[in-house]
Amino acid sequence: MSGALAMRVRNMRLSGRIGLALVLFWLVLAVGGPALAPHPVGAFIDQEVFSGPGRTFWLGSDYLGRDVLSRVLWGSRYTVFLALGAALLAVLGGTSLALFSAIRGGWTDEILARAMDTLNSMPSKIFALVLVAAFGSSLTLLLLIAAFIYIPGNYRIARALAINLVAMDFVQVARARGEGAFHIARYEVLPNMIHPLLADTGLRFVFVVLLLSGLSFLGLGVQPPYADLGSLVRENISGLPMAAPAIIVPALAIASLTVGANLLIDALKPGGKA
């Protein structure tokens, strides 16, 4: 098993390996980073604000004089787990519904598709605003809300894929064997759409990261003193004119995380090219 994995990595293109390295880096940081944080995440310890990198504050301080390094370390945990969790949940939900829809067909399909269109047509940030205002923004709720918002998008893609697959002969074979809907969905259809789904997960992941930062733009999101990477960018936006590390670092973190994840996913595709 691990041998096969090693083989895959060795056969990967350079960009895929870079992606893998970036993803692993951020995963490790998300798990272990907070333990490495040199300062408490909410402590206002620098007399200055937006100071540059220095001995006490490796990555400088933020708009309130907090340690940027510590905040980024914590922030990466929230971003990685929230965004990953929400993206996976969204794909899980959207794909399950899509499979159900495609395999059932008929009215079920029509109604589900309409319902998803309904949700899809609402601007995501505004929808999130309404949901967060209505249900609050605990971490779990945030995760669920972000997932909920991206279910329809995934549904759309997964349904298009599944409908093509359901018409394939091997699905007919399974039907003719008398297989139940679950088996068909799980073993016949799903494995054949895994790569486009992965690619979609990568994009949803980016979207959730952006949604979170967009929510922080509206004053919602992860509870203080913690903040996800997007919120870190947002709250330090006034440091942009002086190119403070407080804004550059989290922005780079987001970019490297999302680009890395997508490079890795691209490289996982069979043929690696398409």
Binding site: F170, Q172, V173, A176, R177, G178, N192
Partner: protein, 611 residues
């Protein structure tokens, strides 16, 4: 490959210097992941005299297409072409740059692809694509190009030559499309035409028309041609010379007549043998009827008042006894697969019944019990799509074992191995995904999956059509053996009448969804047949170079079946022996005698349908 099979020296059938095409020492290599290069074809040498036709023949993957494309200086997947000599006319293809090659392609060397359906751009009109070579090479203006195209359409015997060009590729039949592609290739008056299996995808009846048209057109244009095929009988009709390929190497080359009559290599002999299947002995028909199909009407779309929106099958019925084989033949679109789907329950019939050992089966599979489903197994037409590309061979075969027989773990493992042995696949292949198998291997897995259910009835839908003759013959042997050993009743669907005739105990001929004839094998060689059956039999090419020339031209063009009244004979528009005032006014009667049934006004009477 060893020395004994090394190609003969590159002496063409006639003087090589006069040859329009000369190839010497052609090798084509691809880079492998580990950096080394692998040869797909190696050391190929041949020459074609001006105005003659050379055939490249060999099994799938032997490098025929690769060589043909190399003649245009074109290679797929970044393969590299190397040759001592690669000459077409006065052009040294191997030495030409990309833009020079582009100037030659489509103007001096033209290509006719294997599948016209794939090679035509689906969203542009046919005419715009046919005249494109003229336009991009600046050989003619739009108006002149159009005129030339229409003239070509006419000479290729295409219907409504003035307007057919305004249609889109999906709006014409496969045979017509193939001829339209010939027009596209010939429109610039090329010196060399390369035809890559241009009739493989066609029905026998259509193939004859297309072959005839090609042959005439090539002769008329005076072009030199390279004809790629895996079918010896077809090649015999068109080519003067044959090059036999195996695994990217030349096995043999020479005059067509010589290769057919005195093949030198073992491989060529195998090819010849497989092309004419031996008639198998009839099964000792057990008495019990396993499968009975009674007066089925079926079609697609919503069923309104007992009639589907698109009716396909009308009043089809037959029985199959234990251990015997029913062959179903008919042209593409005649409803063969539809029939199989109705029996399997995938497509509920609008009316009529399917009985298994006398017990009526529910029409839709959703209502059938698991046991009923198990007892009828359908082997799908296309193994490529019938096998889940995400599963391994073992997953695929083990699933029916677990599903129907509750076999798991080691027992299932062992049984899968047994089945692999049965279909003669190495056990080592069990852990490969289906995408990593060859076409023949896939079809065997497809078969093994059906066998794993231990069915009473096996529905084989064109299981050998996509394979080359050698591999196909092996699969047929296998089915035949299973039928005899396990007593499985088989419904064998094919569009290839020679296979069906050799292989089946009884033959059902479908035309446009109707069973126009049912005939036991014993009676098949008799001369009274439905005119359509006759047409099918006559369309199978012989290994005789004169066959095409001597065969009478076909009756009128295929008409839309929907254009005639539903109760009349559906073959009427194409029937060469239709009786005016009878066939076009009365529904055809059914004649039944000594086990055969023919749906025709002529059958049985003094004016028998046979000629």
């Amino acid at each position: 490959m060893t020395v004994e099979l090394a190609p003969p020296p590159a002496t063409g059938p006639s003087d090589a210097s006069a040859a329009a095409v000369e190839v010497r020492g052609l090798s084509i290599t691809v880079a492998q992941p580990d950096g080394t290069r692998r040869a797909i074809v190696e050391n190929i040498s041949f020459a074609v005299p001006r105005g003659e036709v050379l055939a490249l023949i060999g099994e799938s993957g032997s490098g025929k297409t690769t060589i043909a494309l190399a003649l245009m200086g074109f290679s797929r997947f970044g393969a590299t072409i190397a040759a001592d000599c690669l000459r077409v006319g006065d052009m040294d293809i191997a030495a030409m740059g990309q833009s020079a090659l582009r100037g030659v392609r489509g103007s001096r060397i033209a290509y006719i692809a294997q599948s016209a359906a794939a090679a035509f751009n689906p969203s542009r009109t046919i005419l715009s694509q046919v005249i494109e070579p003229l336009l991009v090479h600046g050989l003619a203006g739009r108006e002149e190009a159009r005129a030339r195209a229409v003239a070509l359409f006419r000479s290729l015997a295409l219907p409504s030559p003035e307007t057919i060009g305004d249609r889109y590729p999906h709006q014409v039949s496969g045979g017509q499309l193939q001829r339209l592609m010939a027009a596209m290739a010939l429109i610039t008056g090329p010196e060399l035409v390369i035809l890559d299996e241009p009739t493989t995808a066609l029905d026998v009846t259509t193939q004859v028309e297309v072959l005839r048209a090609f042959k005439a057109a090539i002769a008329e244009s005076g072009a030199t041609a390279v004809y790629v095929s895996h079918d010896l009988a077809v090649v015999t009709q068109v080519s003067e010379h044959i090059v036999v390929l195996q695994n990217g190497r030349m096995v043999e080359q020479g005059d067509s007549a010589r290769i057919l009559t005195a093949p030198q290599s073992e491989y060529t002999r195998t090819l010849l043998a497989a092309a004419r299947p031996a008639i198998r002995p009839t099964a000792d028909a057990a008495l019990d009827k396993v499968l009975t199909v009674d007066s089925i009407h079926a079609g697609y779309g919503r069923i309104v008042r007992g009639m589907p929106a698109t009716p396909i099958l009308a009043d089809v019925g037959f029985t199959v006894r234990r251990g015997s084989t029913l062959g179903v033949i008919g042209e593409s679109g005649s409803g063969k697969s539809t029939l199989a789907r109705v029996i399997a329950g995938l497509l509920p019939a609008a009316s009529g019944e399917v009985l298994l050992e006398g017990q009526p089966l529910p029409r839709a599979m959703a209502q059938r019990s698991r046991e009923q489903l198990r007892r009828i197994q359908l082997v799908f037409q296309n193994a490529d799509t019938a096998l889940n590309p995400a599963q391994t061979v073992r997953d695929i075969i083990a699933r029916p074992l677990a599903f129907y027989h509750g076999l798991k773990g080691a027992a299932a493992h062992a049984r899968v191995d047994e089945l692999l042995d049965l279909i003669r696949l190495p056990r080592a292949l069990a852990d490969r995904r289906s995408t990593e198998l060859s076409g023949g291997q896939k079809q065997r897995v497809n078969l093994a999956r059906a066998l794993a259910a231990e069915p009473d009835v096996l529905l084989c839908d064109e299981v050998t059509s996509a394979l080359d003759t050698v591999v196909g013959a092996a699969i047929l042997d296998l089915i035949d053996e299973l039928r005899r050993e396990l007593g499985i009743a088989t419904v064998f669907i094919s569009h290839d009448i020679s296979t069906v005739r050799a292989f089946c105990d009884e033959i059902l001929v479908l035309y446009a969804g109707r069973a126009v004839e049912r005939c036991p094998k014993a009676a098949f060689d008799g001369h009274s047949h439905h005119p359509y059956t006759r047409l099918l039999i006559d369309s199978v090419p012989d290994m005789d170079p004169t066959w095409l020339a001597t065969r009478a031209a076909a009756a009128g063009p295929a008409l839309a079946v929907s254009a005639i009244a539903p109760e009349l004979c559906r073959f009427l528009p194409r029937c060469p022996v239709a009786i005016g005032g009878l066939c076009d006014s009365n529904p055809p009667p059914l004649h039944v005698d000594d086990g055969r049934a023919i749906l025709c006004h002529r059958a049985g009477g003094p004016g028998d349908a046979s000629r």
